[in-house]
């Protein structure tokens, strides 16, 4: 049953450029997918490791900037992508070693400081990053000769990356390592006594999280063909965290729902509601106070409640008949 549902979703997603005729909306879908990858990566840390980061836009941005710098330096796309991801992994390792010196709020503050340093470099080290003017790249890659210039083309490439992300994160979460990670979130002291290397587990999780943030950053670079310091500002990290929290940290697809919510509000609703930051902030506040487990678990609860009610209704009329049949 589940497989059928999943296949259906896959078909719908793959066929999206056909049933959404407008390329503007196809592009929105691409954006949703790339931010969903970012949110999935962040959730490995926030939801599964229990470590809240407000500096992940720094990793996202390092990937985007590194990619742009490689490309403008003459590298081909393949090398540029590898280089960008390598740079992100290196940065993630540095971030992790420093941030893991703190726990709880201390961890958060160190990630803020790190994100700010990245922002400071992006904003001020003009000779490398061009400061506020940002860096643009001229072309998108042509994997196996296929063009990513059109909206559908880019969408399909992004969809593939998204599916890869979901799959790897799902495998990760269901693995022994994933269980270890969740253990360190719930009872770090006990895990230590059971023989687990808590710091190393967290460190590796940070790297994994950083990797996907970097992948999202590369997608972002190719989507916009432009990157600027805005991308690494505190606000960007806050948005990513909002996606994760709004969607629900305890679930695999919660961050995806959060990404859908945030991107749609940012792009589509802003055509109708003038001030989307206000709406976003308000949603954030409401969710944190009233629905701390996020939208996805809340919706699941609602779904189950409705399904139970319906089932109760269905038993009643046929009940008598069933008894005779048995």
């Amino acid at each position: 049953m589940r497989r059928l549902g999943l296949s259906l979703v896959l078909v719908v997603l793959a066929a999206l450029p056909f049933w959404v005729a407008n390329s503007y909306y196809v592009n929105i879908a691409s954006q949703i997918l790339l931010y969903a990858v970012f949110a999935l990566g962040l959730n490995v840390l926030v939801g599964y490791a229990g470590l809240v980061s407000l500096g992940h836009a720094g990793l996202f941005g390092i990937a985007a900037y590194a990619g742009a710098i490689f490309i403008n330096g003459g590298a081909n796309h393949f090398i540029a992508i590898l280089g960008a991801l390598a740079a992100t992994l290196l940065a993630a390792a540095v971030f992790a070693v420093l941030a893991l010196r703190g726990t709880g709020l201390g961890f958060v503050m160190i990630t803020v400081a790190l994100g700010q340093i990245v922002w400071g470099v992006a904003y001020r080290w003009i000779s490398i990053t061009n400061g506020d003017n940002g860096v643009s790249i001229a072309t998108r890659p042509r994997p196996f000769g296929l063009s990513l210039v059109t909206a559908p083309g880019f969408y399909w490439a992004t969809l593939l990356v998204f599916l890869a992300a979901v799959t790897t994160v799902a495998i990760f979460v269901g693995s022994p390592f994933g269980a270890s990670l969740r253990g360190t979130r719930d009872q770090p002291r006990r895990m230590n006594a059971l023989g687990y290397h808590v710091w190393m587990i967290r460190f590796l999780a940070f790297l994994f999280s950083g990797l996907w943030s970097g992948v999202a950053g590369v997608l972002f670079l190719y989507y916009n063909q432009f990157v600027s310091p805005q991308v690494v500002a505190l606000g960007a990290s806050a948005e990513a965290l909002l996606m994760v929290i709004a969607g629900g940290t305890g679930t695999l697809l919660g961050p995806v729902a959060g990404a859908v919510l945030v991107v749609i509000i940012k792009n589509v609703a802003s055509a109708y509601i003038a001030r989307w930051n206000l709406v976003l902030g308000a949603i954030f506040v409401v969710i944190v106070i009233f629905m701390p487990e996020g939208l996805v678990p809340g919706s699941v609860r609602l779904w189950r409640w409705t399904a139970d009610r319906l089932r109760a209704r269905m038993v009643e009329p046929g009940g008598a008949r069933q008894k005779r049949g048995a």
């Binding site: 495998i171 269901g174 693995s175 022994p176 269980a179 253990g183 895990m191 006594a193």
Partner: protein
Amino acid sequence: MTALVLDDLEKSFGGLRVTAAVNLSVEPGERRLIIGPNGAGKTTLFNLITGELRPDRGSIRLFGLELTRIPSRRRAHLGMARTYQIITLFPGETLLRNVTLSLLGRSPLRWNPFTRLDRQDALISGARAALERVGLGHLADRPLGQTAYGERRRVEIAMALAQRPRILLLDEPFAGLSIDERRDVQDLLGAIPRDVTVVMIEHDMDVALDFAERITVLHFGKVIIEGTRAEVVADPRTREIYLGE
């Protein structure tokens, strides 16, 4: 070879001497009870043995191996298991998953991010067996939140036993239990095989008396009395310590 030797162990917090020149020696297979009034430094002693705290002075030897330089996470791999005074289980998980995590800690599998934990039959059946041994096999798939306090205490013990330890450190395993639940735990402890050395901390002497072969009495971080059960019970100082000076 002695199972556990504490040699002149010292620990102070600021000006407070919590562990004062403690000498302790436990034979393999022995059932040792450490008692003392609140604040005597019993749990601190355990924390020093497991490595969560570093002693200021002194040494700890497990079956002859000097532990002081060995980080706490490695001590589990050397055969040390412990339960906690306050239940520290994994909420939101089933009993089976809780014990599976305990077994996983000793296995190199714990680093594997590729396979599915659900498919690790050897590990999971081992966990189920551990739960059977403490009489909780029928609740294996019950989420922790839906179990009683007494059952959770037994899960703690199951997790520790699942590690197949050489030495088991029990920190107030009877705390908060009803009379029936205490009996269950007592039976459980009685069934532990002799190849496991057991050291127990208890605050309430009556509850743990049957279990103990030798008793160490701590007060203000110092070992005041040590001997067989009979010796310690007969010693007038024991009464004094508990009823106050």
